[in-house]
Subunit: 305 residues, 4 copies
């Protein structure tokens, strides 16, 4: 259902797409339409609201998938094992940074939301081979979104896989210290999870699963409560790249963004939110999307602080 | 009033003081009794609860004072001015780190909770000279704690001021780029605010002022609501040094610690908490204090996530 | 011809092999005999002198080959092109460090003697395909050493190529910025040049070619004079990893070491020296080899300072 | 005596002063005339040659004085003590950099030519108080230059001392780890040695003392031979800030520059050279001075490589 306030806020913030820039380092992403802006929200009573281009558009999860793989790795291994291999601390450095790793011995990625940490996490997802492991990730996404039709976009995957020089550099660095399994298998899983194609509605339902402490929209407890809480914490401290601190102050909602322009947001106990607008600001977050979420947070008093 | 659960949790966690170490780099701090553990909580209905050594002990605020100076600088200048001079992003680096400053041109401290950022903030507090500026900080602390007897401990101040080589190094570095006013005046304000002597009860009431969005226990709006929210956000993302991420996950309460062993915690809408236990863990946080707060957060479901 | 002083110095320094450790990160290198120590020297009148195990042993060049590839890249492209892609400055960082690259935009390796710089240089060596480019490097080594039998040790190459995670990480990092050609081709050239098998005598003659400003032992000008001078300068400022400064002070001779335990040294106008002893010190230089060269420098007054 | 080639080279390179910039961070230095260029050379037979403005101008030593204090600290304490407190390795970082210190525990400056290392060295110079220690440094400069009239320029000293925020930051950082004595006394010595006023002729004679392995122009052995050799090595590996590598390649002469625009050069066994031209390049070296020295090195074949 279209919602008047969401429509109004989309109208207000669509001009903000103009100052942003669609990601161009992955060829398949560079073709996205920069002026798109859409939002979907869903509450525990399953009322779904739309604004802007939400119903018509789909996009790949990119870094938003780091939340999913973290959930699955925690379900597969427990907190102790996962956090013996990746840290819990936010960092002021860019998501693709390597230098802090070089300064630790052995190198342990600071958190699961930077690329190095996310690759360690993807390497931990159980399964026999790439297909099985990606299948398990897909199953979790589908369950959280209550949408069995979600798939990997193989074209985006291939485009990204071939040009993933920086991620390959990080992966081989980690391999030197045996912190990931087979490099190319880990990269295949990681890049495929990034290429899972979703809609704003999917993200809103995924956000609601976390907001409801692991219960999906259908009421099923698909994720343990403690894990649902834990990943929301990471979303606050390091979900928006190295603008996470400012986002927490201005918006105050657990959220995770991706370079495709998607934002997954989860208001504890209250609401799941999905946003898409591919024109990015200089930190790599959706420019209009962040502003739209800030307006919504104020209007509906959604800050957790 | 002594509270049975608080007493029980203090008894449970007092042994945790054993694995910690009292800060020894400031002579006056090194004389604290390592086995002390106390807690005070206060709710909007002004019910004050105690546990352990809370009523008997006092201690200096140290880094907890960074919250107070940030509030005052924001009240003096507004967000825009303050955040043009200090960032909003958490950092994985130690609180006394300099190297990131060197890599920026001009150097801008990443956030107001690391020493470099806190000195910039202290330099922004208005007033004619050290005495006036420290007086204004003291007035704010007294109002928030509803306690007119709070004073600076001059002995701790002197002890710390004379050995503040690292902070002096940071201050001169900032001075090179004109990011603080007079170096020694800034240091005098900063080290004096660190030496403000409080009790667990004081911290609990300060925490309640923030939890009540700026209203003190007497019901007076002493801090603008937006500023009260903003500083709680910083407490989550960077209040516990470079263990803030883990603390957010394990405890989930906005909090700020100091090397004296104090912790100020603020549960939005619900409660202010003050803790003191001077034996520190290797990140510089009160070892038993953090564990006590974690148990309390679980028992009373205080996590914001 | 065995030389009494060389024999005496080998006897004196052979015990120094005990404090060192054979490189173990490349399986094929870890099988070297740690107590071997040999030296060969050759003067412009072609008088060849031996000491210790020099005549019997051969070893792979490893980082010593960086001198050869630099010579060839300079002959192929000239100074201007080469130094637009790699710097001239020594660095206090380890040879396999990445972090300085991350701090420059675009990243330019500080000098051709660290791995990142050496890979850029290998990528510049002309030729149609790996075989042709390695063949040209081999031809130059053979001409400088006046020994047509020098070959690549394919077993060492394979062992190193399969475990070159760190170098592969560096190579992909450089590829991200298009600073090298095809990654695997560059690595194949680079790792093969490292696996060129030589003797102390070969190194002594190579050193003499540089000492004679590009004229080989046969009197032929095989390298332009300016290039021979230039590479000797790099050997002084960054030839011995991050112990180059100390080596310049203690020994004062242009030299380049490899993790196999070889040292190539070149005394301008006077002498070429080849040393082999695989037990390494903690900076990665031949432990007994460095000490032997220091004693020889004092005995024969070889320091250029 | 004016020398035709020196005059010709000065004429050729005077236009190079135009692209440079006089140091402006020290008020007293910013008043230097940017178009000045002078050179003096002196050979073991004491033949003194001039070119350009050499006879008329004087200037402060600035970083050139690091060579003098290193000589004196080595004479006072021996190599072992000095190099237990400061390293021997060149660095690719700027002279006033702090970050490498922060990454070592305890921090040990990489070499005596960067500011941190030079302050440690100045702190090692023996004497009872600032005056005595500066007096001993002055005595050494006078002996090496064979000029009893050399003095500290107190106006430059004061100007520099008051604005030495960055050096004060470094000094307090070192103090934190007790690597220097009293901070202000060390700074007074260090900044005063920087303010010693000399001429090109003085520098030429100082350079000759080093070139003659410690014998002054009068034939007296004022510095032990091993120390004279050692400081020339540092001049090659780190004498020209982070352009030392390029300078070694292009010029090939041990040299030390200062931000005043002076260059001290010493050709082992052959010649001392003093140059002055205050317009600096972007690395902080005399722009025309470096080019003049490069031309002279080629003309007279002075490279040690």
């Amino acid at each position: 259902m279209r919602h008047p306030l969401l429509e109004e806020l989309v109208a207000k913030h669509r001009p903000d797409t103009k100052g942003g820039k669609v990601a161009d380092y992955i060829p398949a992403l560079s073709r996205q339409n920069p002026s798109v802006l859409g939002i979907a929200t869903v509450t525990p009573d399953q009322e779904l609201m739309y604004g802007g281009d939400a119903p018509e558009v789909s996009f790949t999860m990119q870094s938003i998938s780091k939340v999913i793989s973290l959930v699955l790795a925690l379900m597969d291994h427990g907190e102790e094992t996962v956090f013996s291999q990746v840290g819990m601390e936010p960092t002021g450095d860019p998501f693709n940074s390597l230098y802090k790793l070089e300064m630790m011995s052995p190198p342990k990625p600071l958190n699961p939301m930077i690329n190095a940490g996310a690759m360690v996490v993807s390497s931990l997802v159980k399964g026999s081979g790439v297909e099985d492991r990606v299948g398990r990730l897909l199953d979790l996404v589908r369950a959280m979104a209550d949408n069995p039709d979600i798939e990997v976009d193989e074209e985006v995957f291939r485009s990204e896989y071939e040009t993933a020089h920086r991620n390959r550099s990080i992966a081989y660095f980690l391999k030197e210290y045996d912190q990931i399994g087979d490099v190319e298998e880990t990269l295949q899983v990681y890049v495929r999870q990034c290429a899972i194609r979703v809609t704003c509605e999917d993200l809103a339902r995924i956000g609601l699963s976390l907001a409801q402490y692991g219960r999906s929209v259908t009421g099923e407890q698909i994720i343990p409560q403690s894990i649902a809480r834990l990943v929301k914490t990471f979303m606050v401290t390091c979900g928006m790249y190295n603008a996470s601190g400012e986002f927490a102050i201005r918006v105050g909602i657990p959220a995770k963004s991706g370079v495709s322009g998607g934002i997954l947001a989860s208001v504890p106990g209250k609401m799941g939110i999905g946003i898409y607008s591919p024109a990015l600001d200089d930190k790599g977050n959706s420019r209009a999307g962040v502003r739209l979420l800030q307006s919504l947070s104020r209007a509906w008093q959604l800050s957790i602080f």
